[in-house]
Symmetry: C2
Subunit: 227 residues, 2 copies
């Protein structure tokens, strides 16, 4: 064991950029800080990493504490460690991004006890504490980029979903309309989702429900410079 008084050590935290699609908008989960620094300001959910806790477990724990969601898609994003990013001293944070299904029963909408937690549309965020605005910007770029060449979009939907719903998610995140026929052809060709025998009735003709294929490889190689 290396002891603490050998050398001073930075503190290590995790922060989570949790995305969801609600009310036809891409939203990010923020919590309101209660203590200085930045007391009262909005920030990403996060906290210190336990001494025996893997990093991803810490991110999952922080996310679960704020939302109650425990099976979200979680991916390491980047590690921010500039001295001076935290006025309290040297704090290195490992940022994660998470995709929360639209039907996940997210509690704390309104903040019952401790820290208030709320969803904010990504294009209408309040000022954020620390360098969290940079982190969100980077997470958003990564999310868009991932959508372009993988099929992670369904992680933002319930277990079964219609192709129209999935297309809406892509349109909302990418910020542009997509052609229905081309969308369907490509998303199906990618082979990461499969039809179920079920349909959903609403207004108009019922739509077939699809689900994620457990055995699928999420990364769909796009055209490469040197195939």
């Amino acid at each position: 064991m290396v002891y603490c008084y050998e050398y001073p050590r930075p503190a290590v935290t995790v922060d989570v950029v949790a995305f969801t699609v609600r009310q036809e908008r891409l939203q990010v989960l923020l919590v309101q800080r209660e203590r200085p620094p930045f007391a009262g300001a909005w920030a990403l959910p996060g906290g210190f990493v336990g001494m025996e806790e893997p990093l991803e477990a810490a991110a999952a724990r922080e996310l679960a504490e704020e939302t109650g969601v425990s099976d979200a898609y979680l991916e390491q994003l980047y590690t921010y460690g500039d001295p001076g990013r935290d006025p309290r001293g040297r704090v290195i944070t490992v940022a994660y991004f998470a995709l929360i299904p639209a039907d996940a029963p997210v509690r704390a909408e309104g903040g019952d006890d401790a820290a208030q937690a709320r969803w904010f549309p990504v294009d209408d965020l309040p000022p954020l504490a620390f360098d969290h605005a940079d982190i969100v910007t980077y997470a958003l770029r990564r999310l868009r980029y991932k959508l372009e060449y993988t099929a992670v979009g369904f992680q933002l939907l319930p277990e079964t979903f219609t192709l129209t719903e999935l297309q809406r998610v892509y349109e909302i995140i990418l910020g542009e309309k997509l052609d229905k026929r081309n969308f369907r052809r490509r998303i199906l060709r990618a082979g990461v989702i499969e039809p179920t025998p079920y349909f959903r009735s609403g207004e108009g003709r019922p739509a077939r429900l699809y689900r994620y294929r457990e055995d699928a490889v999420a990364e769909v190689k796009a055209r490469r410079l040197f195939p």
Copy 2:
């Protein structure tokens, strides 16, 4: 300032996977450990992050200490923090990968004073300390992937280079022969390198020298799922 005795803190290190192409092979820089744990074993160059030192600066410093190279291409790779990855206790490491030009005057080839440092071909590595084998594997995957859709390959070459030299780098790293005409067309279309007025004479017809365009955007978007 948050003081050390508030909570125990993990130690934070950086490790660098430095690639170069020598003797027609892709090689990785390793250092031989002098102290336990894993005394005598080979490991990635790396070390503790200074309390006032940015992470990338720490990686650059470690790389410079081992090689004398101070202007390499450096990119954050991933942060490894499993408890138990270091037998001394909780050590979180931020891994970087670096591309070293073939003509860089790398000293310590043979280890003059302290730790011995050597290049090893990636396909013939010794057993590595800690989880460094995992880190190298991931860095290699990322390097191949980057080569496929960007034009970072020239970072492994001197400031000016011929297209044939560049093609060799790609072939060595990707492990397959490429068509000369298609390679040239695509690499030039990507627009990240430009011809100089100079030629290099060797055996046969002299070859035009190219250089990196400072103003170029390195990321060449490949075919996307939803353009």
